[in-house]
């Protein structure tokens, strides 16, 4: 058996809140978690709609059925052919971001890279690998119910991580971003001298409207 790979043209989608023809100064690239779909994920961000802000929710390139075919969800990657999947979604996010900038007719906006759960690792890798973003690649990185991916060498990427404004948001009953995982991440960040803040809220592995509003202020 031989394995072959090739690049194919496919249709992907992203959804947005906000008017690209308006006075857009800030763009949130918000990546959903495993098993979610962009339209339902984006609805949480209605709470932070504002004339100067666009929220962009790309959808993971791999969709699949959940709950005995009752629901559809999307994923950014699995461990199968993971490097190719990472390359694919980095290219996808670059294309989305460029498309959005084109619509807003701006060459520069304040970029907030936001990732929930699996989406957190996704946006972090995008910032680390994208050839399209500047230095630093974003103005802020928000990891909600998530930590930096294990394959992101903090020392190698310390320069931009120190400039990007890193925020970890976690519910105190988050079953994935557990207190132990967050504590481990905090220690790693301190050792690498990467400034960060941790925002905790009373809740599980989910978004919280009030916390989201506070982040957006």
């Amino acid at each position: 058996m031989q394995e072959h790979t090739l690049s194919v043209y496919r249709t992907a989608r992203y959804l947005t809140l906000g008017d690209p023809s308006g006075p857009v100064e800030e763009v949130w690239m918000a990546c959903h978690g495993y098993g979610q779909l962009a339209p339902y994920f984006l609805r949480h961000f209605r709470a932070i709609e504002a004339p100067h802000r666009m929220v962009v929710a790309p959808e993971g390139l791999s969709r699949f059925y959940l709950e005995n075919h009752q629901r559809v969800g999307a994923s950014w990657m699995t461990r199968e052919a993971r490097l190719d999947e990472i390359d694919d979604y980095v290219r996808f996010l670059d294309t989305v971001y460029t498309d959005v900038l084109t619509q807003t007719r701006r060459s520069r906006v304040r970029l907030i890279a936001f990732g929930f759960s699996q989406g957190g690792a996704t946006v972090a890798r995008w910032l680390a690998r994208s050839p399209a973003l500047g230095t630093p690649p974003a103005d802020r990185l928000v990891l909600w119910g998530s930590v930096l991916p294990h394959d992101l060498d903090l020392d190698e990427h310390a320069d931009w991580l120190r400039c990007v404004g890193l925020t970890l948001v976690v519910g105190d009953r988050d079953a994935y971003a557990t207190p132990e995982r967050i504590a481990e991440q905090e220690e790693q960040l301190r050792e690498a001298a990467i400034p960060f803040e941790v925002v905790r809220f009373d809740g599980e592995h989910r978004l919280d409207t009030e916390v989201l509003r506070d982040l957006a202020r």
């Binding site: 959804l15 339209p39 339902y40 609805r43």
Partner: protein
């Protein structure tokens, strides 16, 4: 005094969620329908209607948490259907414009005098 306090707090024991406001979902479905979503995005609009009906049934059964969740989902589906319909309308307008330009070009080419050799 104790009786008054008991009466005041009696309503607090096992307080239930209020019935959800379904009007936003209902409006979103109506707007999607009016925007042509039944042709441009029939499946998405159907999902919205089905979830709304499920939300209404859940509300009738006083399962207000489920009703709120389903109404929320129905609203998102309806908004997505409307967005697809608007996109389809815009694409149709672009195609129409392209066709008009093509016809105009043909007309211009036909009306140009042919340059015969001398």
């Amino acid at each position: 005094m104790l009786l008054a306090l008991a009466l005041l707090t009696a309503g607090c024991a096992g307080s239930k969620l209020p019935p959800p406001d379904m009007s936003a979902a209902r409006s979103a479905i109506a707007e999607a329908d009016q925007s042509g979503a039944s042709e441009a995005a029939p499946l998405v609009l159907r999902n919205a209607r089905q979830k709304f009906e499920q939300a209404e049934r859940a509300a009738e059964n006083e399962d207000y948490e489920a009703a709120r969740f389903l109404a929320d989902q129905a609203q998102v589906d309806a908004e997505l259907a409307e967005a697809k319909a608007r996109s389809a309308t815009a694409m149709a307008a672009v195609e129409e414009l392209r066709e008009s330009i093509r016809v105009l070009r043909e007309e211009i080419n036909r009306s140009r005098p042919s340059s015969g050799g001398q």
